[in-house]
Symmetry: C2
Subunit: 245 residues, 2 copies
């Protein structure tokens, strides 16, 4: 199996996604929020790049069953129901709802991955579930795409990707070919094994703490809290067809 | 001091270079060849992006005092005097000569760094000399730009950059602000301290070994072999003004 990790989406093109199973990681916070919302029974998530795309969608949907969520510069978008704090996406808020979701980094990575055989959403919350799900498909090629922050490597995404590489290395029975970024991330995940500390010292983690989201950092650092594996299909995210409990 | 590392040139724009001291790393093999050629007395190196740029320059220069060097896909360019193997650039070959030099990755990074306050060329061969040189300028902002390979992170460049971060951390007396990639590379350089092994397992190292350049890998893995710090100024590389012995 060929396993490539990409430290941020710049060098990742649609050609890199073609014929692959792609795991998209945005630990702070899009992936963590998506996984938590799916765990809490959200019916589907519609990721959109621009705020205008979200407001255009609203009249086509039942507003009572629809939530608008997302952030710009870490803060809730004006007029939206929810921000990008996973803790906001409680069961009584999201169950059975459609969530229109727009974030700075995560949606870009999803768009670039569109030609993939399958796209799943991963973070620390579901590391082992993602690995189990990917291996069950017996893919020939896997790409782990870290969303990064403002087109640069994000420590928390890179370490989370490295942890997935390590778990894939442990579980895969056969020849595994890693690219350099996968080798680097794997070694880093071994040496930086205090995930809570990694998230706190990351530049994005520090910005979020200053904005008052310290609780989110702790929440997003929990390894294997959930078995949920959100899947992106036809531009929608849901747990349909995944190994959700 | 602000210290940013960039794992490859994609996310690095001219805006990132402005007002900074930039260290360009291309361990395999452009940086290593440039450092070795400078150590061996080459008068100046003219980096060019395209082969055509090199052939256009030739009639404007004294051919007897000019060498054409470089590679495409690791191999010597047809009609050129030398490839990109540092070992070819011996003292009796390069001393007093002008070298027109074109490589796949390194010249891109040099072009993107042009607005910098200073650009120097680094690799394992001159890690400590580069750190000493950079610190002597008392810069406020330093960027370490890894050339990478085909727009992806290269293990050998990332670890070499991390080693420079570590040495800057040890030597700098004052507050040092690192970006996430610098934190990651520094931790990786600490955990992957067998540089020869890093270079051999890197994807580019493996390709070069298959092409018959295993000796180059060993050569490029030698830490602090030289004190030479090549400087890029007005599109030319030389040791003028550097702390060359």
């Amino acid at each position: 199996m060929e396993l490539n990790l990409h430290s941020e989406p710049n060098g990742f093109s649609e050609a890199h996604a073609k014929g692959k199973h792609v795991v998209i990681i945005d630990v702070l916070r899009a992936s963590s929020t998506i996984v938590h919302a799916c765990e809490n029974g959200v019916e589907r998530i519609i990721p959109v790049a621009q705020v205008e795309d979200a407001t255009k969608l609203i009249p086509t949907l039942d507003r009572k069953k629809t939530l608008l969520g997302g952030e710009r510069e870490g803060k809730k978008i004006e007029g939206f129901d929810l921000g990008n704090s996973p803790i906001e996406y409680a069961r009584n808020v999201v169950k059975g709802k459609t969530l229109i979701f727009s974030t700075s980094n995560g949606t870009v990575a999803i768009a670039q991955s569109s030609p993939a055989d399958e796209i799943v959403i991963g973070c620390f919350l579901n590391v082992s579930a993602v690995v189990k799900h990917v291996l069950a498909a017996r893919p020939k090629k896997v790409a782990i795409l870290c969303s990064g922050n403002l087109r640069q490597l994000s420590l928390e995404d890179f370490v989370c990707g490295g942890l997935m590489v390590r778990k894939l290395e442990e579980s895969f029975r056969g020849k595994l070919t890693l690219n350099d970024a996968a080798v680097a991330a794997s070694a880093l995940a071994e040496s930086m094994d205090d995930v809570g500390g990694v998230v706190r010292i990351s530049s994005h983690g520090q910005v979020l703490a200053e904005l008052g989201f310290a609780d989110d950092l702790e929440f997003c650092s929990k390894i294997d809290k959930y078995d949920t594996v959100p899947i992106v299909a036809d531009g929608r995210i849901s747990t349909q067809g995944s190994n959700r409990r």
